[in-house]
C-alpha cells in the first residue's frame, strides 16, 4: 500500500512538497521524534539569540564563585584569620545566576548557552564533512564498480578498523587544540560507515530502470551521479546525518574532557572538565553540561530514529 503511494508521488525529496508533507505526517505520529525536533529547534534558537541575553561566559568573579543553582544549597567553611576558627555557613542559589557559578565565579547559564553554540557548530561542520565525503565515496564506488570500487572499499576498511579516537587524540595533540582542526579531523575520520551504507543503497538503485533510461537517453556519468543517484539517496543521508551528529558532539566533548579541547572556546566538554576538578565543592559544574550533552544527543537520536521509520515503510509495519 505504502510503496504504491510512494511510487505515485515518487521523485527526489527536495523538490517534492507532497512527499515532504507525507513524511511529516508519518513523523508526527512518533512523539519522541517530535520532542527531539522541538528540543533541537529550542537549542538552535538558544545558540543564536542566547548569547545576547546572558553575560560574558568568560568573565570571572571571585566574589561569587561556587554558587549553587537556584533551589540548591551548599555548605562552605570560611576560615577566619582573626579568630583562627573556621565557621560553616550555608550558601543558597540566587536568581542572578540561576544555574550557579563555577570555581572562578563564571555564570553557568552563560557558559552552557555558549556551549550550545559550539556543540551545534561542531556537529554541523564535522557531520557535513563526513557526509559529503561518505556520500561521494559511496556513490562513486557503487557507480563505477570494478577496481575503483575495490580500491575505495579497501580504503574504507582501513578507516573503519583504525582506532579513530586514538588517532583523533594524537592529531590534536601534535597539531594543537584548535576547534577548526578538531571539527575537520572528526569529519575526515567519520565517513567510512556512511560510505558503506551509501554504496549498498546505490548498488541497489543502480540497476533500476530510471538509471538505465537516463543512460539510454545519453546522459553523462556525471549527470547520472549528481542528478539521479544522489537525490535518490537523500533520505538515507538525512537519517545518517541526524544519527551521526550526537557522536560528533560527544567526540568533541570527550576531547575537551581529557584536556585537549580548544582553550579559547567555552564548550560543554571544557566546562565539564573543569567541573570534574571541583566535584566535592561544586558538583553542578560537572552535572549541568553533562545533562545538556545527554539531552542534545538524545534529541538527535530520537529524531534520527523517527526519520528512519518515516522514510522506510518496511521498518515499521
Amino acid at each position: 500500500m505504502t510503496s504504491k503511494l510512494l511510487q505515485k508521488i515518487g521523485g527526489p525529496l527536495y523538490s517534492n512538497r507532497r512527499l515532504i508533507s507525507y513524511y511529516w505526517q508519518r513523523i508526527r505520529k512518533n512523539k519522541l521524534a517530535v520532542a527531539g525536533l522541538g528540543f533541537i529547534l529550542f537549542l538552535i534558537l538558544l545558540a543564536i539569540i542566547g548569547p545576547f541575553l546572558t553575560g560574558d561566559p568568560t568573565k570571572s568573579n571571585f566574589e561569587e564563585n561556587n554558587l549553587p543553582p537556584v533551589g540548591f544549597s551548599t555548605e562552605v567553611s570560611i576560615y577566619n584569620i582573626a579568630t583562627g576558627q573556621s565557621t560553616t555557613s550555608k550558601i543558597y542559589g540566587t536568581w542572578k545566576h540561576p544555574l550557579g557559578t563555577d570555581s572562578k565565579g563564571r555564570d553557568m547559564l552563560a557558559m552552557l548557552i555558549s556551549g550550545a553554540r559550539i556543540s551545534l557548530w561542531v556537529g554541523l561542520v564535522a557531520t557535513g564533512i563526513a557526509i559529503s565525503l561518505g556520500v561521494l565515496i559511496g556513490v562513486l564506488s557503487a557507480y563505477f564498480g570494478g577496481w575503483a570500487d575495490n580500491a575505495l572499499m579497501r580504503f574504507t576498511d582501513v578507516m573503519m578498523t583504525f582506532p579513530f579516537f586514538l588517532l583523533l587524540v594524537m592529531i590534536v595533540f601534535i597539531f594543537g587544540s584548535n576547534l577548526l582542526l578538531i571539527m575537520v579531523v572528526i569529519g575526515l575520520t567519520g565517513w567510512a560507515g556512511i560510505a558503506r551504507m551509501v554504496r549498498s543503497e546505490t548498488l541497489s538503485l543502480r540497476t533500476r530502470e530510471f538509471v538505465t533510461a537516463a543512460k539510454a537517453l545519453g546522459a553523462t556519468d556525471r549527470r547520472v551521479v549528481f542528478r539521479h543517484l544522489i537525490p535518490q539517496v537523500v533520505s538515507l543521508i538525512v537519517v545518517m546525518a541526524t544519527l551521526s551528529i550526537p557522536g560528533v558532539i560527544l567526540a568533541e566533548a570527550a576531547l575537551s574532557f581529557i584536556g585537549l579541547g580548544d582553550p579559547t572556546v567555552t564548550s560543554w566538554g571544557v566546562v565539564l572538565e573543569s567541573g570534574q576538578q571541583s566535584l566535592d565543592t561544586a558538583w553542578w559544574v560537572a552535572v549541568e553540561p553533562g545533562i545538556m550533552l545527554f539531552l542534545t544527543a538524545l534529541a538527535f537520536n530520537f529524531l534520527g530514529d523517527g526519520l528512519r521509520d518515516a522514510f522506510d515503510p518496511k521498518s515499521r509495519m
Partner: protein, 325 residues
C-alpha cells in the same frame, strides 16, 4: 562438501591484514614526522639551563634517534624494526615498549571482556524479547532506555557514578586499586562502575540490532514451518529464528568493536584510573612518547582485523550459504 577455499581465503585475509597494518604504520609515521615537535623538545629546558648550544645538542639527540638520516631511510628503518618485533623504547617510562604493554594489557582486557560479555548477553536477550513482543510496553521501554544509553556521554556517566556511589555513598573507591589480585571478588567489585559505564553505552547497539534482525527473520516462511512441526515457541525463537539472526548481528557488532568499544574503553580507563592500554597511550601522547602510541594503535587495529577474520570464518559455520571468493 569441502572447505578448501577457506584456506585460501584465510591466507588472503592475513596478507590483507599485514597490508592494513603497513598502511597504518605509514599514516602514524607521517603524522609524527610532519608534526611540529621533535623528540629533542623535551630536553629544551634542560639544555638551556646548562647553557649548552641548542642546535648542537638537538642535532646530537636527533642523531641518537636516527633523525639526521633522510626521511625515507628513517621510514624504512622504522618499518623494518616494527616487523622484526622491535617496537622501540618508551622514553617516558624508560622501558621497552613491549614490556610496557605486557604489564598493562590485562587491565584493558578484563574491562573490555567483562563489558562485552555482559552487554552482549543482556542486549541480545532484551532485543529478542522486544522483537517477539513488538510494540508492547516492554518493547517501547527497552528502546527508550537503550536510546538513552547511547546518548549519555560515557565519560560523564563515569564521573556521575563516581560522584554518587564513591564520593556521596562511599560504596566504591574513587580510583581503581591496582594492587588487587586479578581473580578476586574485590577486583570484580572495583570493576563494577567502569563495567556499568561501558555496558550502558554498548547495550543499545546490541538491543537495536538484535531486535531488527530478529524481526526480519520472524516474518520468514521457515518460522511457520517450525511451528507447524509442533516445536515449542522457545525452540522456534531460540533455535530457528536466532540462528538466522546471528549472522547479520555479528557483522554489525564486530564492526562496532573497533570504533565504539575501544573508544569507550579508552575514556573509561581514564575516568576510573584503570592503568590499561588506553590510559597508557593517553599518557604517552602527552609525553610525546610516540613509539608507545604507535604500538597501541597497531595492536588495537590488528585485534580488530583478527576478530574480523575469526568471525568471517565462524560465519561459514553459522550460515552454510556464505562463501567468500
Amino acid at each position: 562438501m569441502g572447505k578448501s577455499w577457506l584456506k585460501y581465503y584465510i591466507i588472503k585475509r592475513l596478507i590483507y591484514a599485514v597490508a592494513i597494518a603497513w598502511a597504518i604504520v605509514t599514516i602514524t609515521f607521517i603524522l609524527v614526522r610532519i608534526g611540529p615537535s621533535s623528540p629533542a623538545d623535551k630536553y629544551l629546558a634542560n639544555i638551556l639551563s646548562r647553557g649548552q648550544d641548542v642546535t648542537q645538542v638537538t642535532a646530537a639527540i636527533e642523531a641518537r634517534y636516527g633523525l639526521d638520516k633522510p626521511l625515507w631511510e628513517q621510514y624504512a628503518n622504522y618499518v623494518v624494526h616494527l616487523f622484526q618485533g622491535d617496537w622501540g623504547w618508551s622514553t617516558s617510562t624508560s622501558m621497552p615498549v613491549i614490556d610496557l604493554i605486557k604489564k598493562h594489557w590485562i587491565y584493558s582486557f578484563q574491562l573490555i571482556l567483562l563489558s562485552t560479555i555482559l552487554a552482549a548477553i543482556l542486549g541480545i536477550l532484551i532485543g529478542i524479547y522486544s522483537a517477539v513482543r513488538q510494540y508492547s510496553k516492554f518493547d517501547y521501554i527497552a528502546s527508550f532506555f537503550s536510546m538513552a544509553g547511547i546518548s549519555i556521554p560515557g565519560f560523564w556517566l563515569g564521573v556521575m557514578l563516581i560522584l554518587l556511589f564513591s564520593v556521596k555513598l562511599g560504596w566504591f573507591k574513587v580510583y581503581y586499586d591496582t594492587t588487587l589480585p586479578l581473580f578476586s571478588l574485590e577486583n570484580l567489585k572495583a570493576l563494577t562502575l567502569p563495567v556499568l559505564t561501558m555496558v550502558t553505552g554498548m547495550l543499545a547497539g546490541y538491543v537495536k540490532y538484535t531486535r531488527a534482525t530478529m524481526l526480519d527473520n520472524l516474518r520468514k516462511g521457515f518460522v511457520i514451518t517450525a511451528r507447524a512441526k509442533g516445536l515449542p515457541e522457545r525452540t522456534v525463537i531460540g533455535k530457528h529464528v536466532f540462528r538466522n539472526a546471528l549472522l547479520p548481528l555479528s557483522t554489525i557488532l564486530i564492526a562496532d568493536l573497533g570504533g565504539i568499544v575501544f573508544g569507550s574503553a579508552y575514556l573509561t580507563e581514564i575516568v576510573f584510573g584503570i592503568p590499561g592500554l588506553g590510559q597508557v597511550s593517553f599518557k604517552a601522547i602527552f609525553a610525546a612518547d610516540y613509539s608507545v602510541v604507535v604500538a597501541i594503535v597497531l595492536i588495537s587495529t590488528f585485534l580488530v582485523l583478527i576478530i574480523n577474520l575469526i568471525t568471517d570464518i565462524a560465519y561459514t559455520y553459522i550460515d552454510p550459504r556464505v562463501r567468500y571468493d
